[in-house]
Point group: C2
Chain length 118, copies 2
DNA sequence: CAGTATCCTCAATGATACTG
DNA sequence: CAGTATCATTGAGGATACTG
C-alpha cells in the first residue's frame, strides 16, 4: 500500500494542488469547511449560517468539496427528507488549518487597515 | 491606546473581515503572501515565481494587500529602477497561517481524491 | 525594470422558477 | 426539505500595447 509519494507544487499552474487550493479557498468553500468543524449540518442550516450564499453556490461548493474528498454527504430517507454534510478525516485537516486563519482575521480585524471591499 | 476591541464576524456578509478573507484567499493573494515568507521580492521575481499570473493581476493583488496592510512596498531610486515587496508584521501572521494550509495541501495531494479542476 | 491603460471574453455568481 | 434548471449579469482575469 502506497499513497503517491509525489509532493505537489502550487507554483506549477497545472499541478492538481493548485485546483485543490482554489477549491478550499474559494469564496464559500472556506466558510463551509469551517462551519462543518462544529459538526454535521443540513443544507438549510448551512444556507442560513453562511449569510449571503445562494442555493446554487452552496450546492456547487458542497459538490466540489465532496469530490475532493473533504466532505461527505449522508442522506436519511425520512419524511421530510433529511441530508447531512460532514467533514471527512482529510476535511478536518484542511478545515482546522483554515479555522486558524479565519480566527486570526476575526480577532485582528480591528487592527487591519483597509478592510474595505471593492 | 486601544485597538478596536470589536471582533469580526465572517458570517456577516457586510463585516470587513469577509473582505479581508477574500483578499488573502484570492487566487493570487495566497501565493503572493506565501512567497514573501521567503523574504522580500521584486515585482519581476514574483511574476516569474508565481507561474501563470499576469502583470495586471499581480499588480492588483499587491495593491490590495498593501491596502490591507499585509504588504509593504520599498522603492529604491536606482538605475534601473528597483522595487521590493515584503510582508509587514501582520502580513507575516496571515502568511504563516496560509503556509500551514498550502504545505498541507502540497504534502497531501497524492491522497486527495478529485484533484481535477473544472 | 516596474508598472499602467485598454479592450475583450468567458466563467463565476446570483435571481428566479421548478422538481423529487 | 433538498436541491436542479435556466437565464442574465458582471466583474475577475487575461492579452496587448504603452509609459516613466
Amino acid at each position: 500500500m502506497r499513497a503517491s509519494r509525489e509532493r505537489g507544487d502550487l507554483y506549477a499552474p497545472d499541478c492538481p494542488s493548485r485546483a485543490v487550493l482554489d477549491h478550499v479557498t474559494s469564496r464559500w468553500g472556506v466558510l463551509v469547511l469551517v462551519s462543518l468543524l462544529g459538526g454535521p449540518h443540513r443544507f438549510s442550516e448551512l444556507r442560513r449560517l453562511i449569510v449571503g450564499v445562494s442555493d446554487k453556490m452552496l450546492s456547487q461548493t458542497l459538490k466540489l468539496l465532496q469530490h475532493d474528498g473533504f466532505i461527505a454527504r449522508d442522506a436519511f430517507l425520512e419524511m421530510p427528507l433529511r441530508v447531512e454534510y460532514r467533514l471527512t478525516s482529510s476535511g478536518v485537516q484542511v478545515a482546522e488549518r483554515l479555522a486558524v486563519l479565519t480566527e486570526w482575521i476575526e480577532d485582528s480585524i480591528g487592527a487591519i487597515e483597509g478592510a474595505r471591499p471593492k
